[in-house]
Amino acid sequence: MLFVLSPLLRSKMGLRKLYVFGNEFLKDDSFALRVAEGLSGVDVVHCRRPDELMDEEGELLILDVIKGTDNIRIIKDIDEIKTRNLVSMHDFDLGFFLSLMKELGSPKKIKIIGIPEKGEEKEICKKVEQIINNI
């Protein structure tokens, strides 16, 4: 049985926030959500919109799926993310939002743990946990 801690309790416990993105209805896109379920010692926040990141003043830690990689990658420079110019409201995605936040200078640091679209969940979960502990 899973016991879910309230956000207040988690923050009182001083757990680090990990913002996780993914659409639960899409198998590949939801992989980060499934991996996050197995993480311990971290306050997992399922982000549905990029603007949920706006209130984070400290270092922002994000878990998301990266297309075209077989390994876990840590992205420390937002410029590594492919960003389209905003040509329509439909382009207002996470990549654009993070690039904008970088330009606006808030938060000061953003780190993205990028995992592949598929793989052995437990193994990836263990590696992500190690990475979080070492960051």
Binding site: R48, D51, T83, L86, V87, S88, M89, E103
Partner: protein, 424 residues
């Protein structure tokens, strides 16, 4: 002086559009603005489905205006079933529509329109110089999103609204929270208004008639009569005065009112309803460059900024008046009939019509989006405006045309269906 202009890729609008312009001796000989999106077939998709599925399906027409499609579809179905929603349901529908409008206006103004006026290619490029302004934009967008997710139980394609009521009511505590958050961004909206009122807009008058929904005692959002300064129509009569037709260069239909072009959107709403704006919005309108009625489509941007303030004031008013009580969803008696739903979407008046058989199955549907109604007006505005700027350099002409198109805040993906100009 260019002889032809071909815009194959108009940016910073919703969807894809192309413009073909031919110019001879300073006169426009050919002007064709068309949507180049694939056809959407939503009206066909809902045929054979049950009445309670229309809003969920048509919500997918657009991720930006999904709320407007949901409310228009529900209104139309309830009209067909002769069902009148409760006052609480009506208030929640207005509030969620205002949330969508706040998000949409803030995004369009700061991320699509402003870069043109301050000389940047994109919002990202101007971010370092316009930090406070873009932070305002993000705060406003966030509140708009919060209203939708709080009331709709989802951020996009919200699911709480249904025929006969509200599936999952927000708690009173959440409504009170929303009210406080809206108060916290009112100043951001006022600053938006001041910023857009200070920009320099081209001088141009559109010959189209300015239509929007109107109501006697409130700034119309989800119902009303379709009205301009000179004409007023009941929604039930819309087919008598609105006519859709097709042009071979566009996948979106064109729409005319009694065979004349017209404009819908925020500027018509302000022109027709300015007396019903909130006190703050009325004051900002007086301080702006808009003299009512404004026939300059470029003023659409200022109008959106003024409406942003109104939407926030109005949303706070609704939140404060709401005392959420449990209201089970009503199941209207199924009957054969035709119903019309007409709402003010962020980009203008949106029409949904459905015919149901006695089993409640949809046998016919018709949807007219704001951009389809504006398409002819934009095209003819371009035709009339270009001669006044014909001596400019080609790239400046293109910029002025693009600004004109963007001022309408069109959504080509919804209308069928970005700008391609072909100078011929």
């Amino acid at each position: 002086m260019p002889k032809e202009i071909t815009l194959n890729h108009i940016t910073k609008i919703e969807g894809h559009a192309s413009l073909t312009l031919g110019i001879e001796k300073g006169k426009v000989t050919r002007c064709e603005l068309g949507a180049v999106e694939g056809s959407r077939y939503f009206e066909g998709l809902v045929r054979g489905r049950h009445y309670y599925e229309a809003h969920e399906m048509t919500s997918r027409i657009c991720g930006i205006c999904s709320t407007a499609h949901v409310i228009a579809a529900i209104n139309a179905i309830e009209d067909a079933l002769k069902y009148k929603p409760t006052e609480q349901t009506r208030k929640l529908r207005i509030l969620v529509s205002l949330g969508e409008r706040i998000r949409s206006h803030a995004t369009h103004l700061y991320f699509l329109a402003l870069p043109d006026y301050v000389g940047y290619e994109s919002a990202l490029a101007m971010a370092k110089k316009y930090k406070p302004q873009l932070k305002n934009a993000l705060s406003l967008m966030k509140v708009g999103n919060k209203i939708i997710s709080t009331l709709g139980s989802r951020d996009l394609h919200f699911v709480s609204a249904t025929v006969g009521g509200w599936l999952k009511l927000p708690s009173q505590e959440k409504i009170d929270e929303l009210s406080k958050e809206l108060e916290s961004v009112r100043e951001d909206a006022v600053k938006t208004c001041e910023l857009f009122s200070s920009l320099k807009y081209p001088d141009f008058k559109s010959e189209g008639e300015y239509f929007s929904l109107v109501k006697k005692k409130e700034y119309a959002v989800i119902d009303g009569d379709f009205s301009s300064e000179k004409h007023k129509f009941k929604k039930k009569d819309y087919k008598k005065f609105l006519r859709e037709y097709h042009e071979p260069y566009s996948t979106a239909n064109f729409v005319v009112k009694n065979d004349h072009r017209y404009m819908v959107g925020t500027l018509p709403r302000i022109n027709n309803n300015h007396k019903l704006l909130s006190k703050n919005a009325r004051m900002l309108l007086r301080l702006s460059r808009i003299k009512i009625p404004s026939l300059n489509p470029y003023h659409h941007n200022i109008a959106q900024a003024i409406e942003l303030v109104h939407c926030i004031d109005e949303a706070i008013k609704i939140c404060k008046s709401l005392k959420i009580r449990d209201e089970p969803v009503q199941k209207p008696k199924v009957r054969a009939g035709t119903g019309i739903g007409v709402v003010e979407a962020p980009r203008g008046t949106l029409w949904h019509e459905y015919t149901l058989n006695d089993k409640g199955v949809i046998t016919n549907a018709n949807i007219i989006t704001p951009t389809a109604q504006n398409l002819l007006n934009i095209q003819e505005d371009i035709r009339n405006f270009v001669p006044s700027i014909i001596k400019k350099r080609k790239k400046d002409i293109i910029m002025d045309i693009e600004k004109l198109i963007r001022s309408y805040d069109p959504c080509f993906s919804c209308s069928a269906h970005f700008l391609e100009v072909k100078w011929v």
